[in-house]
C-alpha cells in the first residue's frame, strides 16, 4: 500500500509539473518545470522496481538533455510567447478536439484492456541491475553497439549542423 501511495504522489507531481510546463509561455520556465516533472517520474520508476532507469532518467534526461535545451534557449535568447490576438480560432478548436478525442480513446482502451491479460513470467523481478546488464550485454549486444554508433553519428551531425558556415 505504501508503494502505491508513493507512486501515486510521484505520478501526480509529474502530471502537475507537466501541466505547468505546457501552460507557461516562457520557455525557460517550462524547461525548469519539466526538470521537476522528470525527477518525480524517476521516483515513479523506482516504485516500478526499475532503479537503473530511474538513475538514467535523472542523469541523462534531467541532467543532460534538459540542460542542453536550457543552453540552446539561452544561446538563441528565445522571447516569451506573446498571446495571439488575431489567431485562427479553428486551430485552437481543432487542438482541443484532438486532445479530448485522444483522452477518450485512451480511457476507453484502458477500461477495455487494463491488466487483464498479464501473465507473470517465471523469473521474479527484484529491481536489481545485474539481470538487466546480463540481458543487455548478451542478447542485445548488437543493438547496444549499434546505439553507440548512432550516438557518434548524432554527435558529428549536430556539430556539422550547428557550425558557423565559412569558418573552419
Amino acid at each position: 500500500m505504501t508503494a502505491r501511495l508513493v507512486f501515486d504522489v510521484a505520478a501526480g507531481l509529474a502530471i502537475l509539473f507537466a501541466a505547468v510546463m505546457v501552460v507557461h509561455r516562457h520557455p525557460v520556465k517550462s524547461v525548469l518545470a519539466l526538470v521537476v516533472s522528470f525527477f518525480a517520474l524517476s521516483v515513479a520508476y523506482v516504485m516500478l522496481s526499475a532503479p537503473l532507469i530511474a538513475a538514467l532518467q535523472v542523469i541523462v534526461y534531467a541532467g543532460a538533455i534538459l540542460v542542453l535545451f536550457l543552453f540552446v534557449l539561452m544561446l538563441l535568447n528565445v522571447p516569451e510567447e506573446v498571446r495571439q490576438k488575431s489567431g485562427r480560432p479553428i486551430h485552437h478548436t481543432l487542438s482541443a478536439l484532438a486532445i479530448v478525442v485522444f483522452a477518450a480513446v485512451l480511457l476507453g482502451a484502458l477500461r477495455a484492456h487494463g491488466a487483464t491479460n498479464a501473465a507473470p513470467s517465471t523469473s521474479p523481478l527484484t529491481g536489481e541491475v545485474a539481470p538487466v546488464a546480463r540481458l543487455l550485454f548478451s542478447e542485445h549486444l548488437l543493438s547496444f553497439e549499434a546505439l553507440s554508433i548512432l550516438l557518434l553519428a548524432a554527435l558529428v551531425g549536430a556539430f556539422a549542423l550547428a557550425r558557423r558556415e565559412g569558418r573552419t
Partner: protein, 104 residues
Amino acid sequence: MTANGIPLGDVLLASGALFALGLAGALMRRNAISIFLAIELMMNSANLAILGYASTLQSVEGQIVVFFVIAIAAAEAAVGLAIFVAMFRHTETIDVNRINLLKW
C-alpha cells in the same frame, strides 16, 4: 498489479495523462523548442507505460527497451537542437508560424 502492488491502471492513467499533456503542448505552442519539449514529455509517458507493463509481467526486457529509448532521445535532442540553431541563423526566429518557406 505490478511487482510492488501498484495497480497497472494507476500507471496507465498517469502515462495517458502525461501523453495528453504532451500532445496539448505540442499543438498549442508556437516556439519550436517548446514543441520539442512537449515531444520529450510524450516519450517519457511511453517509457512509464512500458515500465508499468514490464513490472506487471515481471520482465527485465522492458527496462532494456526504455534504456534504448532514453539513448535515442539523447541523440534526437542533440540533432534537433542543432537544427534549431542552424535555422535561427538563417531566419532569426524559431517561431514555427514564421518558418514557412516550404509552405504553399
